[in-house]
C-alpha cells in the first residue's frame, strides 16, 4: 500500500507533519458505544497471563524480575513475548514480561539502591564502568549544584527535582514511524543536520551533536524492529502495522529512558484512519480492530521502570504515565472523536480498570453527545480516566494536535517539548515570611532580608510583604537548580530516541510547579479575616498558631479567599517568568503535586490555617480536606478561579464523589457528570480527575487487597492501583473530601 495513493494527500507528503495527515483523513464518529466488541479469546488468554504475572509482582515486593547484567537500550534485549502465538501486537521492554531493566544514565546510585533493596547488585563490569568511567546526569548535577540549592533541596523547599532520575515528560511523535517509516525520518534528519552550520556557538555545536545522536537512534530503532521481524524502515501498510509501528516507536523510548512520565501522546484517532480504511476495504472486522487496541493497551500496561523505594514517596504506586489523550476538536471545529477513541476506552472493560495508560479526555463543550455520555459512564464505572479542557488549551495555543505530558501539561506533538521541574513548597515559603527567612523546622537561614514579625497577632500586609520577598528568593534558587538539571540531562542522558521523532528545533517550556496552594490561601485568609497568633519557641520559630474567629476557606466559591489563591499563583508565576532559562525555554508553572502532597506535609511545620505540623497537603490545586463544605460545585468553582494564563503547565484538581450523589439512576448519574464537566470547563478550568467510589470499597480493599487487584483510583493527574499505595497514602486518600450529600 502506497500511503500517498491511499489517503488524501497534502502537506504531510512533503514534510514530516502527522497533524496534516490526521486533519485531512480523520473520520469523526458521532454515534454511541453500541458498536464495540468484547475481547477475543487470544486477548483474554494473554491478559490472564499478565494478571498472573502482576500477582507475582505484587507478592514479590513489586519486582517480578530484573536484569542485572545488561544496560537497557533499543537493541539490548532479545525479543520478548507474553505468548507469541496469541500476540497480534508484539514487543516488550526486555526479553521477559514484567522484567525490569537498568537505565543508569540518569543516576547510577539510584539503580544500585533499587537493586540493593531487593538484595541484588549490578553485574561487576557494569559496576566498574559506572563507578569509574561513565558519568551520569546525577553526577553532573551535583558537580554544579551550589550550597544554597542543596540546602533548599534537603530541607524540603524544593522536592522531587529530577536530579537523580530521568526527567521524562518529553513526548516523541510516535505516529511518525507508522506514517513515514524510519528511512524517511532519517533522510529528513540528515537534511536538517546539513543545514546546521557555523559559526559554531555552544548552541549550534550542541544541536549538531544532538541530531547526530537522533540519527543513530533511528538506525537502532530499525534494528530493534528487526529483532521482532518487523521492517520499520518503511511505512505501515495496514491497520495492524500502524498500531505495531506506533507501539515500536514508543517501545524504543521506554527501552532507552525511564523518565518519570513517558506519555504516549494522542495516537487513537491517527490509528483510526488506518483501521477505518481496512474496515472499509473489508480486510478486518470490528473484532480485529478491538483486538489490536486491546493488545496495544495491554502492552502499555506492562511498561515498567526500575525504581527505588524513596521514589514511591513522590510518585506512589509505580506509575509510568503512559498518558494517551483522546478527543478534543480540530481548529476547523470538527470533532476528533473517532471509533478508535471509543475502542481505547473499551479496553477498561475488555481488560478491566487500570491506571495505565493514563487515559485523558480532551473535553470540549462540542464533543458529540454519544462520546460525552460514554466517558461519563466509564468514569462512573472505573474511576480510571481524567479530563482536560480542550476548548481552553486549543484556543489559547491555537493548536489541535497535542498530547498531555505526564498529568496535566499540554504539549504540541512533534513540535514542542518541556523540561520537567517538579515543584516548590509554597506553604514552607509562607512560613519563611513569618520566621524572618528561617526554616521553621531547623532555624536554618534560607532567605535574607525578611524582618522579624514581633506583633502578637499577624498583620496581613506585613506577612504579604515578607511573603513576596520569600517567593522572589525561592523562585531564584528554584530557577538555578532547574537550569543545572536540564543542562546536565541533555549532556548525560539525552532523549535521542524520542527527540528523533520531534522536529529538530522544537519549542521548549520549562515546567515549574507549586505545592500547598490551598494551605497558603487558607492561611492568608485566616490572617486577614480572623486573628492569628503565632506560638513561637525559644528561638522565635513558629511551632503552632492560635486562630480566633472564623475565616473563609478555599473550596467554597468564596471570592474573599479564592482571589487570594488566584493572586498568589499569579505572583509566583511572575517571579519565575523574570528569570533566564537554559536553552531559552519559556517559563510555565503548574499547580500539581502528584502524590508528593503527603511528603510535603511531613516536611512542613504547623501553618496559620490551623493545619498541624506534618499533616498532608491537599493534592494539586484541591481545597484542603474537609474544608469545602458547600458541595462539589462550590469546590470546583474555587479551583476554576485560578487563571490558566498564570499556570499554563496545568492546574490539577481531583474530585471524589460517591455514586449516589451523582443522581438517583444510572442515566441521571451520567447526565449529571456530563453537566458537571461542561460546567467546570465552561468556567475555564483546566483539569479534573474524577473518582466515583464509596469509601467502604476503599476500606475493604485496604483489608483485602487480594480481592481488589485492579481497583483504580485517580490521585493527582494520574491513577494508581489503590492496593499498591502505601498504608499512609491510602489513609490520606481516605481523608480527602468524598462528596456524598444527597
Amino acid at each position: 500500500m502506497d500511503l500517498e495513493n491511499t489517503f488524501k494527500t497534502g502537506r504531510w507528503c512533503k514534510v514530516i507533519e502527522v497533524k496534516d495527515f490526521v486533519t485531512l483523513n480523520i473520520t469523526p464518529y458521532t454515534g454511541d458505544h453500541k458498536f464495540l466488541e468484547g475481547p477475543t479469546a487470544r486477548t483474554s488468554k494473554l491478559w490472564d497471563i499478565c494478571k498472573e504475572a502482576l500477582k507475582e509482582e505484587r507478592q514479590n515486593n513489586g519486582l517480578r524480575d530484573v536484569d542485572v547484567n545488561v544496560v537497557s537500550g533499543l537493541t539490548a534485549f532479545e525479543a520478548g513475548y507474553i505468548d507469541k502465538e496469541s500476540e497480534v501486537i508484539v514487543g516488550l521492554q526486555t526479553d521477559k514480561l514484567l522484567k525490569r531493566a537498568m537505565k543508569p544514565y540518569g543516576g547510577y546510585n539510584v539503580v544500585k539502591k533499587a537493586l540493593s533493596e531487593h538484595g541484588l547488585k549490578p553485574n561487576p563490569i557494569i559496576h566498574e564502568s559506572f563507578s569509574k568511567y561513565t558519568k551520569t546526569h546525577n553526577d553532573g548535577v551535583f558537580d554544579a549544584y551550589t550550597d544554597e540549592i542543596r540546602k533548599f533541596r534537603s530541607l524540603g523547599f524544593l522536592t522531587g527535582l529530577p536530579d537523580n532520575y530521568a526527567r521524562g515528560r518529553i513526548i516523541g511523535d510516535y505516529r511518525r514511524v507508522a506514517l513515514y517509516g524510519i528511512n524517511r525520518l532519517i533522510e529528513a534528519k540528515k537534511e536538517d543536520l546539513q543545514k546546521i552550520t557555523g559559526p559554531m556557538s555552544d548552541a549550534t555545536i550542541r544541536l549538531r551533536e544532538e541530531v547526530s545522536e537522533q540519527i543513530r537512534a533511528l538506525s537502532d530503532m530499525i534494528e530493534m524492529g528487526n529483532i521482532y521481524g518487523l521492517d520499520l524502515s518503511r511505512p505501515a501498510q495496514n491497520a495492524q502495522e500502524a498500531v505495531q509501528w506506533t507501539y515500536m516507536a514508543y517501545l524504543a523510548a521506554v527501552k532507552e529512558q525511564d523518565g518519570a512520565a513517558m506519555s504516549l501522546g494522542s495516537v487513537s484517532s491517527f490509528l483510526d484512519i488506518f483501521i477505518e480504511k481496512d474496515i472499509q476495504d473489508g480486510k478486518i472486522t470490528e473484532t480485529d480492530a478491538q483486538e489490536y487496541i486491546d493488545q496495544f493497551v495491554m502492552k502499555l500496561r506492562m511498561v515498567r521502570h526500575l525504581r527505588m523505594e524513596a521514589y514511591d514517596q513522590i510518585f506512589a504506586g509505580d506509575p509510568t504515565w503512559v498518558t494517551e489523550s483522546i478527543g478534543g476538536l480540530l481548529i476547523d471545529g470538527r470533532s476528533k472523536v473517532t471509533k478508535t477513541s471509543f475502542r481505547f476506552l473499551n479496553t477498561l472493560y475488555n481488560l478491566g480498570p487500570s491506571p495505565e495508560p493514563n487515559i485523558t479526555i480532551l473535553w470540549s463543550k462540542n464533543l458529540p453527545k454519544g462520546f460525552k455520555d460514554y466517558c461519563a459512564k466509564v468514569s462512573i464505572e472505573t474511576s480510571s480516566i481524567q479530563y482536560e479542557n480542550d476548548d481552553l488549551m486549543r484556543t489559547s495555543s491555537n493548536c489541535d494536535d497535542y498530547g498531555i505530558a505526564c498529568c496535566v501539561s499540554m504539549q504540541e506533538l512533534g513540535k514542542h517539548i518541556q523540561f520537567f521541574g517538579a515543584r516548590t513548597n509554597l506553604a514552607k515559603t509562607l512560613l519563611l515570611a513569618i520566621n524572618s527567612g528561617r526554616c521553621e523546622n531547623t532555624g536554618t537561614q534560607m532567605v535574607d532580608g525578611i524582618p522579624f514579625i514581633e506583633e502578637e497577632y499577624l498583620d496581613y500586609d506585613k506577612v504579604i510583604a515578607n511573603f513576596k520577598i520569600a517567593m522572589k528568593e525561592v523562585a531564584r534558587v528554584y530557577n538555578e537548580a532547574m537550569n543545572i538539571i536540564h543542562f546536565m540531562h541533555d549532556k548525560y542522558y539525552y532523549e535521542k530516541a524520542q527527540m528523533a521523532l520531534i522536529d529538530t528545533n522544537p519549542k521548549i517550556n520549562i515546567a515549574y510547579g507549586i505545592a500547598g496552594l490551598s494551605i497558603v490561601a487558607d492561611s492568608l485568609s485566616a490572617i486577614k479575616h480572623a486573628k492569628v497568633k503565632p506560638i513561637r519557641d525559644e528561638n522565635g520559630l513558629t511551632v503552632d498558631f492560635e486562630i480566633e474567629g472564623d475565616f473563609p476557606k478555599y473550596g467554597n466559591d468564596d471570592d474573599r479567599v479564592d482571589h487570594i489563591a488566584r493572586d498568589v499563583v499569579e505572583h509566583f508565576n511572575l517571579e519565575l517568568e523574570k528569570l533566564p532559562v537554559y536553552k531559552n525555554a519559556m517559563p510555565t508553572m503548574s499547580v500539581l503535586t502528584i502524590t508528593s502532597n503527603v511528603v510535603y506535609g511531613k516536611k512542613t511545620g504547623a501553618t496559620p490555617d490551623g493545619r498541624a505540623k506534618g499533616v498532608a497537603f491537599a493534592p494539586g490545586a484541591n481545597p484542603m480536606h474537609g474544608r469545602d463544605t458547600h458541595g462539589v460545585i462550590a469546590s470546583l468553582n474555587s479551583v476554576a478561579k485560578i487563571d490558566y494564563k498564570d499556570s499554563k503547565d496545568g492546574i490539577s484538581n481531583t474530585l471524589s464523589v460517591v455514586p449516589k450523589s451523582l443522581g438517583a439512576t444510572p442515566e441521571m448519574r451520567i447526565e449529571n457528570l456530563v453537566r458537571t464537566l461542561d460546567g467546570y470547563f465552561g468556567c475555564n478550568a483546566q483539569h479534573l480527575n474524577v473518582n466515583v467510589l464509596d469509601r467502604d470499597t476503599l476500606l475493604h480493599a485496604m483489608e483485602h487487597p487480594e480481592d481488589h487487584p485492579q481497583l483504580t483510583i485517580r490521585v493527582s493527574g494520574y491513577a494508581v492501583n489503590f492496593v499498591r499505595l502505601t498504608r499512609e497514602q491510602q489513609q490520606e486518600v481516605l481523608t480527602r473530601s468524598f462528596h456524598e450529600t444527597m
Partner: protein, 264 residues
C-alpha cells in the same frame, strides 16, 4: 394547637418584618442532584413549622440558629453555577420550611428570574400567607409539595399538627395557576403505604393537569444520628425500612395514573 405554633408564627412575622434581604440559612449544597431537575444549588433554610417524626434534617427544625445570609450573595452563588445548570438545573430552596421566609424569597426569586435561573421550592405546603401564595401561584418555576399523609389524623401523627386541608388548598392554587409542580410522598410502612392511602392519592391527584411528577420516597432512617446528636427522641425507631416488594407494589399501583412516577 401544637406547642411550637405560636413560636413559628412569631418567626414568620419576624422574618416578614425584616427590612434586610437576608435569608436564615442552615446550609448550602451546590451539587443538589436529588431536589428537583438537573444540577441544583440547594439552599436549606433554617426553621420549620412541623416536626415530622422521620425528619432527615432534624437540625433544620429549630426556629433559632442558622446563618443570616445576604440574598445577593446567594444570587451570586447561583450565577456562578450557570454553566453547570444545562437546560433544567437551577436553584431549590428547601429546609426546614422555606415558605416561612417567603417575604425574602420573593426578591430572591425575582433576582434569579432576572438572571434566567430556574427556581424551585421544596415545601410542606402549609403556609398560606400572601407572600407564600404569590410564590406558589406566580414566582416559582416549580414547586415540590410534600404530601405527608392522606388523612388529617395521619397527618397529625406524622407531623405533629393537622394541615392536610391547607396543603390541598395550596396544591389547588398551583394547579389553577397552570404551572408545573411535583408531589413527593414518603412511603412509611404501616403509616402511609396502605392500599387505601395510595388509592386516595390516585383519586385526589390523578386528574391534575399540571402535576408533572410523583416521587415516591422510600422510608429510611439516615437522619437518626441528627436526632440523637440534638438530644431529641426519634419516635419512629421501630419502623422498618420498606422491603423492595413494598416499594414495587406501590410503584405499580401508582404508575398508570400519573404522567411520571419515580422511586428515589
Amino acid at each position: 394547637m401544637p406547642a411550637g405554633l405560636n413560636c413559628w408564627h412569631a418567626f414568620v412575622l419576624n422574618s416578614m418584618s425584616s427590612t434586610e434581604n437576608k435569608l436564615i440559612v442552615h446550609s448550602i449544597e451546590s451539587f443538589g442532584t436529588h431536589d428537583g431537575p438537573g444540577i441544583r444549588l440547594v439552599v436549606f433554610l433554617q426553621g420549620c413549622n412541623l416536626q415530622c417524626k422521620y425528619c432527615q434534617n432534624a437540625d433544620t427544625i429549630a426556629l433559632k440558629g442558622g446563618t443570616p445570609t445576604e440574598m445577593e450573595s446567594l444570587v451570586k452563588r447561583a450565577v456562578n453555577m450557570k454553566t453547570y445548570f444545562g437546560d433544567d438545573g437551577g436553584v431549590t430552596v428547601s429546609g426546614g420550611e422555606p415558605m416561612l421566609q417567603s417575604k425574602v424569597l420573593i426578591p430572591f426569586f425575582e433576582a434569579l428570574k432576572k438572571e434566567g435561573i430556574h427556581t424551585n421550592i421544596d415545601t410542606n405546603g402549609l403556609i398560606r400567607i400572601p407572600e407564600a401564595k404569590q410564590l406558589i401561584s406566580e414566582l416559582s418555576d416549580l414547586v415540590m409539595f410534600d404530601v405527608k399523609a392522606t388523612t388529617e389524623e395521619g397527618f397529625k401523627t406524622i407531623t405533629g399538627a393537622k394541615g392536610l386541608g391547607r396543603l390541598l388548598e395550596n396544591i389547588q392554587l398551583r394547579e389553577q395557576s397552570k404551572k408545573p409542580y411535583w408531589l413527593r410522598y414518603v412511603l412509611v410502612p404501616d403509616y402511609t403505604d396502605s392500599e387505601e392511602s395510595l388509592r386516595w392519592l390516585i383519586e385526589t391527584f390523578s386528574g391534575n393537569k399540571y402535576l408533572e411528577k410523583l416521587e415516591i420516597l422510600p422510608y429510611h432512617k439516615l437522619g437518626i444520628y441528627k436526632w440523637e446528636s440534638l438530644g431529641m427522641d426519634y419516635q419512629f425507631k421501630e419502623i422498618k425500612e420498606n422491603t423492595p416488594e413494598q416499594i414495587e407494589r406501590a410503584f405499580e399501583m401508582l404508575k398508570p395514573h400519573f404522567k411520571d412516577v419515580i422511586v428515589k
